[in-house]
Amino acid sequence: MRHLESALVASVLLGVLVPALTAAELPLSVRDLISNRCADCHDAETKKGNLDLTAHGADFSNAESFARWVKIYERVEAGEMPPKKKARPTAEELKPALAWLKLTLTAADDARLAGTGRTALRRLTRVEYENTMRDLFDLPGIALQGLLPPDGTAHGFDKNSDALSISHVNLSKYVEAADHTLDLAIATRPEAPRVQKVRSSLLCRGGQAPSLTMQGDGVVLREMKPDPAYPPAGAQKHEDQGAHEAMGMFETESSVGIFRREDESVNYYFRGHTTIYPGRYRVRTSLWAFQWDKGQVLPARGTEAMRLAAVQLTADGRGGQHPNYTLGYYDAPSLKPTEHELEVWLNENEMIGCDVASLAPVANYSRKGHAMAFTGPAIAVDWIDVEGPLNDVWPPRSHRVMFGELPLGEFFAKDHPEVHAPRRINLEKLWLRLGKNELDPVTGIWTVHSEQPLADADKLLAKFLPKAFRRPVTDELRKRYVALVEARLKSGDCFESAMRWACRAALCSPDFLYHYEPVAKLDDFALANRLSYFLWNSLPDEQLTKLASAGTLHDAKTLRAEVERMLADKKSARFIEDFPGQWLKLRLIAANDPDKKLYPEFSPYLQDSMVAETRAYFRELIEKNLDVTNLVQSDFAMLNEKLAVHYGIEGVSGPAIRRVKLPRDCLRGGLLTQASVLKITANGTTTSPVPRGAFVMDRILGRPPEPPPSSVPAVEPDVRGTVTIREQLAKHRNDPSCAGCHAKIDPPGFALENFDVIGGFRTRYRSLENGDPAPRGKIDPFISISFKLGPPVDATGEMPDGRAFKDVRELQTQLSADRRALLKNLARQWLTYATGREIAFRDSDAVNAIVDAADKYGGGLRTLLHDVIQSPLFQTR
């Protein structure tokens, strides 16, 4: 038998595929281990965990069998099996069995992936596509994601080749997206549209603020006092908005103070500017906060937060509830008008909106006495300026990417009767005409002019194609695109249209849409791409391309320096947003709305702050190269006032996120106690240790639990306050078929029971029926509370290895003790994200080498990031 084992090992070493073996044909060392150490529980009779090792052969070409044996190997190797209460196998028993398994599984993995590389061919994700177009054409805010079908996910990320299928729908959408981009990119006028600066008041015609001031949800202020020309709504509201408009009551330079937050029926839009020409715009506004006291303006309770948003007008643009995205949260200090300036990209028919984000949802319209009977916090907007479009060069860079320095000239159809005029978008028709800004029309048709079209096309495409395809382009390939230009010119297109045709074809070609990576070791261009799509989610810039061209990017020092440069670049914000967005599932933050009665203090501002905290925390760990144990335990948090109040931490003012040292007795610190993670792992009504525990196992420790058996129903939440989730789960855990997995999954989740569905700390569950009256605590006095305090929370638990904890702090200490596990998991997550393929069994040694290196130099996140990028796994397809 020893001979057979040796022969098997030899065949593996020689690269011969291991044949399928019956249980009896397994090597003696494996059979001995099974019969002496495993068969008690995993034989045909007991079959614990539905596993009968005495009957299982080893057909490693079968995916299911392969996965089962990988699990067996990993659990035995980690010392989890045989379980602690059983006697440990000796080294002599383990070593040959594990060695054989490792070698055989690796060989099977090699055979499975032979010739394909680790990563299968994969296309750009929606996010990558949009960023690539933005950077290629210098159109930093063009909105393309929404045009494309959503991507799937595999192994936790949408970048995985398994998730990136392509269909005719994708293809038709790529054509649409390319056309939209080219419409914006190509200059169609001799000079840039005139820069217009429009000052608006919130009272601007067509908005909802006028009616809100009429009914007492806002007031008009002059020199920080009620405007005598337009007094606050008192015993009677102001009636007849049309009459007020006709009398010019809303055409005022007075400030507008708002008490009421945005809701389903109220939106605040600055209707003075509706974008005609997509581009960069400078937005300036003046904000301050005050306490309104029945007609008096008094100092505010502190610095309030105003949300500014870009509103994407739909249909005819009237009314509210148009989609919007946050531009930022801005300080409104007490009685101190403060100007904020931001440069933003606005697309057609976008305008600026705002919301008094830090205020509670109050409404005076139906309250007796309206504004004159109200006392409470408010934010004032003095004005807002929108200035643009801002073009520092003309034609814009987007145009030069395609046409270089060729001149623009007027196209006279009569001079070229055989040539079709270029395509033009009628902005006048598209524009909703809701603002005070005006069209700046151009007369005639202006287009790029070439004296020698084919020679110019060849020259221009020689520059454009390598940029778009992110690698050198052969003469043959370039000539195919030049031929497209030639064909279009012959069919009567003008030079611009012919070039546009060729560029559109390039943007819809596999060379653009797919990541091109040679099998085996990446060349410098493929490395530049992988690095760039990892840290910038977009194409390589000039410097990366230059280094790739010089063939020096692979050099360890150069690569290291480039990673540092890329992290310092503002484009790294895409990595900070996208990676935790998928790894920690932050993209699902709005997947459910917390129950309004149970969690009345929840607000969109709190939710945005949660995500901002986790992103800022992740950036802080990388920037400061902090120890990976900070993922689960730390003495600081990244907070703004909203979160600090939510966490019960004092001394933080305003909406800006900053590093805050946590008090000694604080239970916060690390990802697990961040409200974002706690909300994502809850369902909006109740928490359960199961999804939270599974999240910790899978995302933080890298030990994903088995999926739940389909025959077992999910535990239904109980919001009546009679049964705790622990009591409900106890029944479930008593079932032997469930107990094994739940003993591993639930403990971290039990420790997190001290945190509710919005990440607030609790010692008792909130209930809608049974329980004691709840104290208000830090909940805003303008928010009415009706929930009760139900049964007490029990956050104690015991890890599968027998270590007990009494709360999340002790769990954090236990988790942080295993730094290697945290390093290994993050390395695997980064590698999966960056390479588009899950980590295979055969990659284990390479991952361990990364972990060893990072651990040796302090286990910092940036150290680990460098080690990942320098690794063969990263640099090989």
Binding site: A229, Y230, P231, Q236, K237, D240, A243, M247, M249
Partner: protein, 196 residues
């Protein structure tokens, strides 16, 4: 119709060489500062440069009687050769366009002041000029209201009406419909025409 044309012809006077004037009852003058609004918004009215280069000037406005006088050049488009009713229509269009429909013109009232009946109604909750205009336009639209005033500081709406066409109840109903709060007790006590 005949009466209207007669009134129209009477209104038309030649002011100076090449200029004619017209007098109208003007609506929208519900408080004294509206005279300034009228002068600012409608001091000079111009139409489309190409089709109607003619200019219309506000030469006089009498707040007490709500009568305004406009001058125009009858030898310039669109007035040249235009019939009298077309001239009035043109001036009305220009005025409404320039004042967001807050001013309008009608033939001067055929009733003497003595033939008009005044109605004073006490109101509450009119806080600003916008609210005052809302109350005003609710009653100014009633056929038979010759002129009206709203004093939001004093809480008073006053209308001079043609008793043959309308009455106090109609005024009250219109104000109620416009959500203007009436002070009924006060209304009864103060229903007396102020000296003009």
């Amino acid at each position: 119709m005949k009466t209207f044309l007669l009134i129209l012809l009477l209104m038309i006077r030649v002011a100076s060489a090449g200029e004619a004037t017209l007098q109208f009852r003007i609506t929208g003058l519900f408080q004294p500062d509206r005279i300034e609004d009228l002068r600012r918004q409608a001091g000079t009215l111009r139409g489309n440069e190409k089709d109607s280069p003619g200019e219309v000037r506000l030469t006089d406005v009498n707040y007490e009687t709500s009568v305004a006088t406009f001058a125009y050049d009858p030898d310039v488009k669109p007035f040249k050769g235009a019939k009298a009713d077309k001239v009035v229509e043109c001036i009305g269009n220009l005025l409404r366009g320039a004042t967001k429909n807050t001013f309008n013109i009608f033939p001067v009232s055929a009733l003497t002041p003595e033939q008009q009946k005044s109605e004073r109604i006490a109101v509450a909750g009119l806080d600003c000029k916008g609210c005052a205009y809302g109350a005003y336009r609710a009653i100014a639209a009633i056929d038979g209201v010759e002129r009206a005033r709203v004093d939001f500081k004093e809480g008073r709406v006053t209308a001079w009406i043609d008793p043959a066409k309308t009455n106090r109840d109609a005024l009250v109903a219109a104000l109620k419909k416009a959500h203007v709060e009436l002070v009924e007790a006060d209304a009864a006590a103060t229903n007396k025409l102020p000296k003009q």
